[in-house]
Symmetry: C2
Subunit: 239 residues, 2 copies
DNA sequence: TTGTGAAATTGGTAAAACCAATTTTATGGA
DNA sequence: TCCATAAAATTGGTTTTACCAATTTCACAA
């Protein structure tokens, strides 16, 4: 059995997009400059105009260029400033271990911040999230399946308390990572009612610490909770 | 002067992509299912096939669908599992304040973790990053301009010490956010040699704490450093 | 000098045609 | 009857041509 070599079978528009990206990286054009017209690019690249348009749309979607009707295609950013993002949709994403580890660190801190500035309304919302999670469990609903999931709601609402859009966005991303196939496969073997009930208990402890404004306790409770989750995950992912 | 209303002037392919995304969200199709053929979609939507293709490419790039030549377009993920990402390329990004605040929290923790597991080789790399930053300053180079920037190198290499791809990715994203226009405009007024030299000093203090394996000191030093940066930024962004 | 408007340029969209890969169906032999 | 094989239909991949709409350019007139 031969080790199959990765075949050069990219769709044309991707090849064109990659080629233009490469030219951008090499400094062929500078920020704000105008790219050649679509017709001109098509001629130079030896492909048709629709193909060029597809490639330009790809570049536009990642924020590299800006298309102005009737005016032209303009460089909006250099390749360095783009990339990254936990969920690219093309790979299988980060390892579950790294993900949960990052959650311990980051969500722990967030819980501490939240405890320092919680309002009564936000407190009520957290309680509702816990109750939603309980009713989910009663009805045997699948876990970690969507943004309506009670577990996610609880954690994302804590992040929202910080009023910091960046921290909220990061928590969203961490959860998006957990909804990926690799993670879900593990979760399916772990979503036992007893684990879910344990999580609800943990949530109540966290809520209590946040409610009384005890940052240190909230942080510790969040970390314990996620370390517990990590323990369950690792136990089942190894067998 | 009238307040101009946001005009419905999205390019056609975006309207189509949004419409399909909406249908996905409503559960019109389920995971793994096949979408109607491009020709069929074009007919149903009342647009041409190239337009449908452009929309499909957009959906493909965000990971919602997978296109298989000759077979069809398949649902790869539901809209919930995608979204987010600090840098979307379409808005002007998070506020500088949120960004630096998130850095204080997250990079502080990361510095603490790094102190617990640094190797001599990694230590050497950190030192090189500091020296690069010093030479950058001597030559009057622009700051926060690229991934080769000494400042960025220092912080990203600390994240690399954690061996956690998620934490590394998050730091990358935070810096990507700082390279956006809004932030750069502020930075241009702040990139005084004295500030840069102060940052180098801070870096040395952080390095020292990490070198001796003192997690608490490393965390504190990183936070102080970034709080200092925040102070400078706020002072200048208000005037 | 300044303003106006026509012409040229550029992106936006549509239609038709053909190629290539895949899937489905039909066919014929075992 | 069953299965392998080939033909046909389906589907995405790409090109060409054409025309529309927004923007820019520039000559020309006031």
């Amino acid at each position: 059995m031969l080790e199959l070599k990765e075949v050069e079978n990219l769709r044309l528009y991707r090849q064109v997009a990659d080629q233009i990206t490469e030219l951008l990286r090499k400094g062929r054009w500078s920020l704000g400059e105008r790219l050649p017209a679509e017709r001109e690019l098509a001629k130079q690249l030896g492909v048709s105009r629709p193909t060029v348009r597809e490639a330009v749309i790809a570049l536009e979607l990642v924020g590299l260029v800006e298309v102005r009707t009737g005016a032209g295609i303009y460089i909006k950013a250099l390749p360095d400033a783009v990339d990254s993002g936990l969920v690219t949709g093309n790979d299988q994403g980060p390892s579950p271990f790294d993900l949960i580890e990052a959650r311990i660190v980051i969500e722990g801190e967030i819980a501490g911040i939240a405890a320092a500035s919680i309002s009564s309304e936000e407190l009520e919302n957290l309680l509702l999230a816990i109750e939603k999670m309980e009713s989910d469990i009663e009805q045997g609903n699948q876990h970690v399946s969507s943004r309506e999931d009670g577990d996610f709601l609880f954690h994302s609402r804590i992040a929202a308390i910080t009023k910091n859009s960046v921290l909220q966005s990061i928590v969203e991303q961490l959860w998006a990572g957990m909804r990926r196939p690799l993670f879900r496969a593990i979760c399916e073997r772990v979503s036992l009612p007893q684990n879910a009930r344990r999580a609800v208990k943990d949530h109540r402890v966290i809520l209590e610490a946040i409610a009384v404004g005890n940052s240190e306790a909230a942080k510790a409770a969040m970390r314990r909770h996620l370390e517990q989750v990590r323990g369950v995950l690792m136990q089942y992912s190894g067998e």
